[in-house]
Amino acid sequence: MTALRTAIRRISLSWTAWHTTAIIVFGAFALGLLPFVKMGLVVNGAILGAIIAVGAIGLTLIYGILNFANIAHGDYMTMGAYLTLFIVGGALSALGMEAQGFGPFTFGYPTLIALPIAVALVAAGAIALDVAIYRRLRDRGVSAVVLAMASLGVAIALRGLVQIVWSGDAQHLPRQSKPVFHLPMDVRVPPDAIFVALVALALVSAVYLTLTRAKMGKAMRATADNPQLALVSGIDTQRVIWWTWGMGAALAATAGILLAVFQAQMLPSMGWRFLIPLFAAAILGGIGSPYGALVGAFVIGVASEVSTQWINPSYKPAVAFGILIVMLLARPRGIFGSSG
């Protein structure tokens, strides 16, 4: 009896055993459902999942290293999308760069120029906000909830700023209709979705390489693991925090641009409404775990998209929320999480 209990405990503590079991169960479940599901929805869900992943990895990095829920993350996404629109419609068109339909895509090459500029601006803005707001609060030693509260204020202000400058109406990047790719099994993929998937793949790989190979990435992981220990080991935690903000906000801004491209429109509320899938993915994967966020994002993306086969598509955020609640009941620390 005792031997059995020890064996069970060893299994439940063993990281890989839990993973393998979870993956087999999930995989079998998904494969069993596959014949009943339209492939087109799965593909669409995977693309949505890629966008959620880009946003959620940034969210989980900030969550893990700064140890608070950044409520403004969705509005960093919105800022990224609107700044791209601003650069494309303002600066670049003033320089005579106006085009739509770059290659197979609906948007023009100015969007590709604007994207990195907008992302850099949002990243710089996030670092500036850290200096102006969050660092002071950290120095004061406030609790995580007060930091989250401050980020709620930032979120509201950013949303207001977007509405002042661009009004509350739907906007879109200059676009030209392009033929949709037809794949077998009645899968139709809009060309922009391929762009979205490629950018997401590149960014996720870049984050992976940074966290595993670069010195700063290792320092970030060390700080997430144990800030005090990282500090006494000679890691400049302030720089780590700025890098985290920079990376997190850059990922958020990119996610916002990808979402605007994928949905062919942008709204001031798009980021706020995206918070639920973002947090669902981050918590599902386990706070602070980028790989977890990646897995969580695909689960949320595919599940909420596939759910539209049976229920009203506008319930997608509610589906993401439902998955989150089930996860919190079953395993609050998430798939890859180490602590609740």
Binding site: F68, A69, I71, I133, R136, L137, S143, A144, V145, V146, A148, M149, A150, L152, G153, V154, A155, I156, A157, L158, R159, G160, L161, Q163, I164, S167, G168, W272, R273, L275, I276, F279, A280, I283, I287, N312, S314, Y315, P317, A318, F321, L324, I325, L328, L329, P332, G340
Partner: protein
């Protein structure tokens, strides 16, 4: 505008300020006393408002293209006929009860976990409630919304003076809830909540069931918010999913509490009147100040500024000590030689 116009405008303003003060009181129970981070006030607001409205609004009229299934005119149910409009109290109680049930469910899932999980859960509930009432037309007429929500005691006064009567109703409701919340906050129970807010581990170590206390506080705050929602429904008498946009149903209330003084009930009420005064007053200003988007921006800036510059708000929380003087310790007897 003549004097009666100003008076009636003032009454309308004061009613809304009272209703917002009730929300701020509910949020004070969550955040001010217990440190629960609820960013889905809109959810409880909507649940309370829809519950009360659906219980009292007449069943749908096909001639008006209303196609929702429910709508109960509880005012006409005989057992409740006691000569006064008891239905109003029943509707408010039901609004509070529905919010209590939902709060129990969210609390059960999240209150044992990290503090910020509650924020995500309340956000999710607010969005789910909004989506439910938007999509399920059978429930509450979808985006067209519910209207013809009845007035309370409307036979007592003429329609043009009705706002003055309702102002009294709102003031009474605010006073009752204020006294109740104040009483709860100054009781030993309220002291445990503040202990949890300050140091959860220490509270747990002192033998307090932190989960149970958090749950009670979460439910109490949600009930207060639900009653506020019901009062709103019978004042505006029109409800649609658009009413519960996070701006006016969540963000403004946060600004009210933070500016007024989190942890201080009087501060919450004062903050509600002040912020609502600024909010409605600025619409008469020229230029950008009357722009709703600019005001949204300023709400966010104000919340951050209060946290940075004056975290305690206008009326800071009073440091609570026992009102009774602790008796001087009896002199220790000299040890016998």
């Amino acid at each position: 505008m003549d004097i009666t116009g100003i008076a009636s405008y003032g009454a309308g303003f004061a009613i809304m300020a009272c209703i917002y003060a009730i929300f701020a009181l509910g949020l004070n129970v969550h955040w001010g006393f217990t440190g629960l981070f609820n960013i889905g006030i809109a959810g409880f607001f909507a649940l309370g408002a829809y519950t009360s409205a659906l219980l009292t609004t007449q069943p749908p009229d096909p001639a008006l293209f209303e196609d929702f299934a429910f709508g109960g005119n509880i005012a006409e149910y005989a057992p409740l006929d006691l000569g006064v409009d008891l239905w109003f109290a029943v509707a408010l109680a039901a609004a509070g009860a529905v919010c209590a049930v939902i709060a129990l469910l969210i609390g059960y899932v999240t209150l044992r976990l990290r503090d910020d999980y509650l924020a995500i859960a309340t956000l999710g509930i607010a969005e789910s409630v909004r989506l439910f009432f938007l999509n399920e037309k059978w429930a509450a007429n979808g985006s067209k919304g519910l209207y013809r929500i009845p007035k309370f005691l409307d036979e007592w006064v003429s329609p043009e003076h009705y706002d003055y009567l309702y102002l009294v109703v709102a003031l009474v409701a605010l006073a009752v809830l204020y006294l109740a919340v104040n009483r709860a906050a100054s009781s030993p129970w309220g002291r445990v909540l503040r202990a949890i807010r300050e140091d959860e581990v220490a509270a747990e170590a002192s033998g307090k069931d932190v989960f149970a206390f958090k749950m009670q506080a979460f439910v109490l705050g949600a009930v207060v918010m639900g009653i506020g929602g019901a009062l709103y429904a019978h004042h505006i008498r029109f409800l649609a999913p658009l009413t519960f946009d996070p701006l006016l149903a969540t963000f403004v209330i946060w600004a009210m509490l933070m500016i007024g003084g989190a942890g201080n009930n009087l501060g919450a009420v004062l903050g509600a009147f002040a912020v609502w005064g600024i909010w409605t007053g600025t619409q008469f200003l020229p230029g950008i100040f009357s722009d709703p988007d600019f005001r949204l921006f300023m709400i966010g800036v104000l919340i951050v500024a209060v946290i940075l510059i004056r975290p305690a708000g206008i009326l800071p929380e009073r440091r609570a000590f026992s009102r009774r003087r602790i008796p001087d310790r009896a002199p220790i007897a000299e040890p016998p030689p």
